[in-house]
Amino acid sequence: MAGPLKTDAIVLRSLRYGEADRILHLYTPHRGRIGAIAKGVRRTRSRFGGRLEPFRRVRLICHEGRGELLTITGVETLDAHAALGEHAATLDAAARACDAVARIFETEEPHPEVYNLLANELALLASNPALACHANALAFRLKLLVAAGLAPALSSCASCGELENIAAFSAAAGGVVCSACEAGSFPLALETYEFMTAALAQPLAQAPSCSPGALREAERAISETLEHHHHLRLRAAVAR
């Protein structure tokens, strides 16, 4: 396995390490989530400069030794997303998006669609700060659920297949349930149901909007799905 590795990556997280190094959590299209060390990157004379800050999309050359971490030897910026740093809300939304990816997809199993989805989300947030909102964050998380194989069943009752009388959401059943199967579920408003179906069907840039109450319900459905099937509790989709 030793040798150079060339890959595109998005910097999810950056942790100070030692005197002037950083350990990076990266998401790549063909190697999933990987860890790497950037030596001397905190020095002002580092050749990496600011290229390895979180949310940057970069092309990396890494040395893959026997250890767990790759060592970054070269970096080229593909998309700096510099505009994210102009607003606290976009920085926060980008951080939550990266955190969700890092925690749901924490292995090296490749998910190129997740890489593309995150790249798209960061580019959208950088180009339009108004998208740093609850609806967009939930639409992004719903699409992550699809990529993780946890897409909630929304077309019919997840327990009995009934097409009518959809009344509630059950994480254990794996989606919406009808009034006859709603034990262990929570009531789901029609507005929430419509938001979730539209968010899954439409591109991120056209994420539908709805009332704050319906967004809270949709977030509960996503959170309970992840907790039940992935044993994972994500941070809130937006700052409270």
Binding site: G18, R47, G49, A80, A82, G85, L91, A95, R235
Partner: protein
């Protein structure tokens, strides 16, 4: 079972907890301490003890201080109308080395990073707002000198927003970012170069 006597093993284990010190370096340091005179070893132990007993946070700026206030806050010659906000005490030392700044400081104790569980309440932001927003405050300018990293930028934006709301009469500035002196332009990254270009000035 360790090959060393218990006190040596304990010293090695304590030294290896220091940042950047692995087991091998800890062993080397432990044997160095064993070889030095008793006076030198006692002086080291006493220095560690004193720093823990006598150093605390300045009641005004949250910088490291021996006693209630740090040397900078006690110095009447420093300009009280300007406060430079930094993340860590080490940043104060870096800025003092420039000999360009004669104002006072405020040390936040870190940078905002909600993903890592560091929120505004975990930093000394409330203390800064209290310093600035009181009616008798002489502060006219706040210089935000947090690191030009993602967390540093988020912290600067958060503080600027709070200051505009709580103390609109105070001018809020951010340290310029651009090319390091002595570096080649062709090696600068896009964001740094872009900012240097945006912040160009007439000559």
């Amino acid at each position: 079972m360790s090959v060393y006597a218990a006190p040596i093993q304990r010293l090695v284990s304590e030294l290896s907890k220091l940042p950047g010190v692995g087991n091998r370096t800890a062993q080397r340091l432990a044997f160095h301490i064993l070889r030095t005179s008793t006076e030198d070893a006692d002086a080291l132990a006493q220095a560690i003890h004193d720093v823990k007993q006598r150093i605390g946070l300045c009641e005004i700026c949250c910088n490291l201080a021996e006693g209630p206030r740090c040397r900078i806050c006690e110095d009447d010659r420093r300009d009280a109308s300007v406060i430079c906000v930094v993340e860590e005490p080490a940043d104060v030392i870096a800025l003092e080395r420039t000999h360009e700044y004669r104002g006072r400081y405020h040390v936040l104790g870190g940078a905002l990073s909600p993903i890592d569980g560091i929120d505004a309440e975990d930093l000394h932001i409330a203390e800064l707002l209290r310093r600035v927003a009181v009616p008798e405050s002489a502060v006219r300018e706040i210089v935000l000198a947090t690191n030009p990293t993602t967390t540093g930028e988020a912290t600067a934006l958060h503080i600027a927003e709070a200051l505009h709301e709580r103390a609109p009469q105070v001018s809020v500035t951010r340290l310029a970012s651009g090319l390091p002196v002595g570096a080649d332009l062709e090696y600068a990254d896009e964001v740094t170069l872009g900012r240097a270009f945006a912040g160009r000035r007439a000559v």
